[in-house]
């Protein structure tokens, strides 16, 4: 019973992320080796890859090796930026990842929609949905605000960038 509880409290997200980095590195080392096994190709990749593998495997295995208590202590140390962040934001990111994941899914949908709907339409829709998600319910603000912002941003970038910008209406 105790063992089951211990297992369920392991930092699986942390372990999974470190394992994913290790897996990517392993694949990248194989891919680079297959591309060319000459020293000139692997002079940086091989030593750095081995370092990444060793550290990532060490971080992934640490919770299993040192036990739950130490694993919790060894879990995400605050970085300079998270220290800089005041508690409410960090807590929100740590404790309620689903809110952030929702934003990410919406952002991913926006980026994927650009080739079809252009920057103008997709930006306006993305902004309107984001505002609605954040509790904005005034129809005028939801309709006019995003259209004005998306139009202004798209036209400004159309003027300043040296490439044609994908748009649907503008």
């Amino acid at each position: 019973m105790e063992k089951t509880q211990q297992k369920s409290r392991l930092p699986w997200g942390d372990i999974g992320f470190a394992s994913a980095m290790a897996a990517f590195t392993l694949w990248y080392l194989f891919d680079s080796y297959h591309a060319s096994s000459r020293t000139t190709n692997l002079v940086l990749i091989l030593p750095v890859g081995i370092l990444v593998l060793a550290l990532a495997v060490g971080i992934a295995l640490r919770p299993f090796l040192v036990g739950r208590k130490t694993a919790v202590e060894a879990a995400p140390a605050p970085t300079e930026e998270t220290v800089a962040d005041p508690a409410p934001v960090t807590e929100q990111a740590q404790d309620k990842p689903w809110a952030s994941i929702g934003v990410m899914i919406l952002f991913a949908a926006y980026i994927c929609a650009i080739p079809f709907a252009g920057f103008d339409v997709s930006s306006a829709v993305f902004l309107a949905i984001s505002l609605f998600q954040d509790g904005e319910r005034r129809p005028l603000v939801l309709l006019v605000g995003p259209i004005l912002f998306a139009a202004a941003a798209t036209l400004a970038f159309k003027m300043i960038i040296p490439f044609p910008l994908p748009t649907l209406l503008l």
């Binding site: 002079v43 990444v52 930026e81 040296p162």
Partner: protein
């Protein structure tokens, strides 16, 4: 020290270029606007201005481009302070204490402090450059590929060390960045890790990746907050608070001097300066004895903000050393300046300083004037640029994400930009969530190609014989310093533990 003949020639050149002076204020404004909007980088601003300089004389072109450069170097700090998103990689350490000051409602003071530190730092950087350019250029010429590789590693370990909680995660992040930065076609024509995607042949698009990682760590987590600054009254950016902050800089003459000198020294090393100088200075200041009653670093300590801004601004002066002396651009900004020289049939390199000393000194003198102009232009423009904190968070998050998507498209010109932004935004969020250093990863990504190139050259010169390094005293000294900087966090931990045990 100073070539007086060339200096007199520079004065004549400047006096005869009256039109060039008129371009300083528009240049600074363009730089400030581009710098403070995440997604619009210094390099993009300068690249967009570059075609306009084709019809200008050389002095006008250089005055305009360096004004954009100076403006955007400070502009990058504005978004770092107000949104925790460094507008450029040289403003990473500015966010460490600048953003906590904003969260405390001290954004006016933080902006004023950063502006004054930037203006003085820029001036200091160019003053030092004026005095030491000839001897410093001689020193940089002595750096071979082994020394350059050690410098890159040193920069990365410094960032890993900044991640005070877990050095292992910091080093892993930096090394992972180095690894990802080598994806694509190598200088030997070997294709690695592209999965057959032709867009990856030139490697990861670094600027969109950088925006994605920094934007993600803040914007994806900000949902639900009404305003950046919680208190309504604190959202106002008044001239008074900016002036108060600017005057506060007088309390930190030592910090500015140290930051300025470090910035010039680190900035003089090609490819490293602008990204590393702010972190080196911040780390240096953090390691010094705490002043009684001051806030901790990372919680809104003005000393950290001044250290970062003075160093990144003075590194601009330092980066000109390699441009003038070696013809090697220290970064994207100086690469565009080099392109401007080429457009006017002037080739950078060791002979440049000897043959065109008057132009070099004229550029230095003009930049000292620009630093003074930056203070006044920035002071007036900050009210406008600082208005971003008056916006609701529900507007800022999606708006900045849209601008970042547009900016990343603008840099690449294809959907590769926004897709890279998205991929690295997700990666950045995961890294922040699990305690890995995002700045270390970004710097690794930025320096990967250079690190591989320098290591490869070292291997080719030495013929794979390690004893070659033993004949390079500068490499040995730098390697010893690197090891020492790696040991410091562990030694400090042991010392603290033994003190606690006693």
């Amino acid at each position: 020290m100073v070539d007086l003949n060339a200096l007199m020639g520079a004065m004549d050149l400047m006096a005869s270029s009256s039109n060039a002076w008129l371009l300083i204020i528009p240049g600074l404004l363009i730089g400030l606007i581009f710098g403070c909007i995440p997604g619009l980088q210094t390099s993009l601003a300068m690249a967009l201005v570059l075609p306009a300089t084709m019809t200008m004389d050389l002095m006008s072109a250089i005055f305009l481009l360096t004004a954009v450069f100076t403006g955007s170097m400070f502009g990058g700090g504005i978004s770092a302070i107000l949104m925790n998103i460094p507008g450029t990689s040289s403003a990473v350490a500015t966010a460490f204490d600048g953003y906590p000051m904003t969260r405390r409602g001290e954004h006016g003071e933080a902006l004023g402090l950063a502006l004054a530190a930037s203006a003085i730092g820029t001036m200091l950087g160019y003053l030092v450059l004026l005095i030491v350019i000839a001897p410093l250029a001689g020193f940089v010429l002595k750096l071979g590929p082994t020394e350059m590789f050690i410098v890159v590693l040193w920069g990365l370990t410094l960032i890993a060390g900044l991640d005070s909680g877990s050095v292992a995660r910091g080093i892993l992040a930096g090394a992972f960045g180095l690894l990802i930065g080598t994806v694509g076609m190598s200088s030997n024509g070997v294709i690695r890790g592209t999965l057959g995607v032709p867009e990856l042949l030139d490697g990861i698009a670094i600027v969109p990746a950088m925006i994605g990682m920094f934007a993600a760590s803040e914007l994806f987590s900000l949902k639900g907050n009404s305003y950046i600054v919680a208190e309504g009254s604190a959202r106002r950016v008044s001239i008074g608070s900016i002036a108060k902050g600017a005057l506060q800089v007088l309390r930190y003459p030592g910090v500015i001097l140290r930051g300025g000198l470090l910035g010039v020294l680190v900035g003089a090393v090609p490819g490293v300066g602008s990204s590393i100088s702010n972190l080196v200075s911040y780390k240096w200041e953090k390691g010094r004895k705490a002043v009684p009653g001051e806030r901790k670093f990372g919680e809104g300590n003005p000393r950290g903000l001044v250290a970062s801004e003075s160093a990144n601004s003075s590194s601009e002066g330092g980066s000109m050393v390699s441009l003038f002396a070696l013809g090697i651009p220290g970064g994207a900004g100086t690469a565009i300046l080099l392109a401007a020289f080429n457009m006017h049939n002037i080739t950078g390199g060791p002979r440049f300083l000897r043959d065109h000393g008057d132009i070099v000194y004229a550029v230095i003198a003009a930049n000292i004037v620009q630093a003074i102009a930056l203070f006044f232009v920035g002071f007036l423009a900050l009210q406008l640029l600082g208005a971003v904190v008056r916006l609701r968070m529900s507007w800022i998050r999606p708006s900045v994400l849209i601008l970042a998507a547009l900016g990343s498209y603008g840099i690449i010109g294809t959907m590769q930009g926004p897709l890279t932004l998205l991929a690295f935004a997700l990666l950045g969020w995961l890294m922040k969530r699990y305690g890995y250093s995002v700045p270390a990863m970004v710097i690794g990504l930025l320096l990967a190609r250079m690190a591989e190139g320098e290591l490869l050259r070292s291997y080719q010169i030495s013929g794979g014989n390690f004893s070659y390094v033993l004949d390079r005293p500068i490499t040995l000294v730098m390697a010893a310093l690197l090891l020492l900087s790696l040991m410091v966090p562990f030694l400090r931990k042991r010392l603290t533990a033994s003190k606690a045990a006693a």
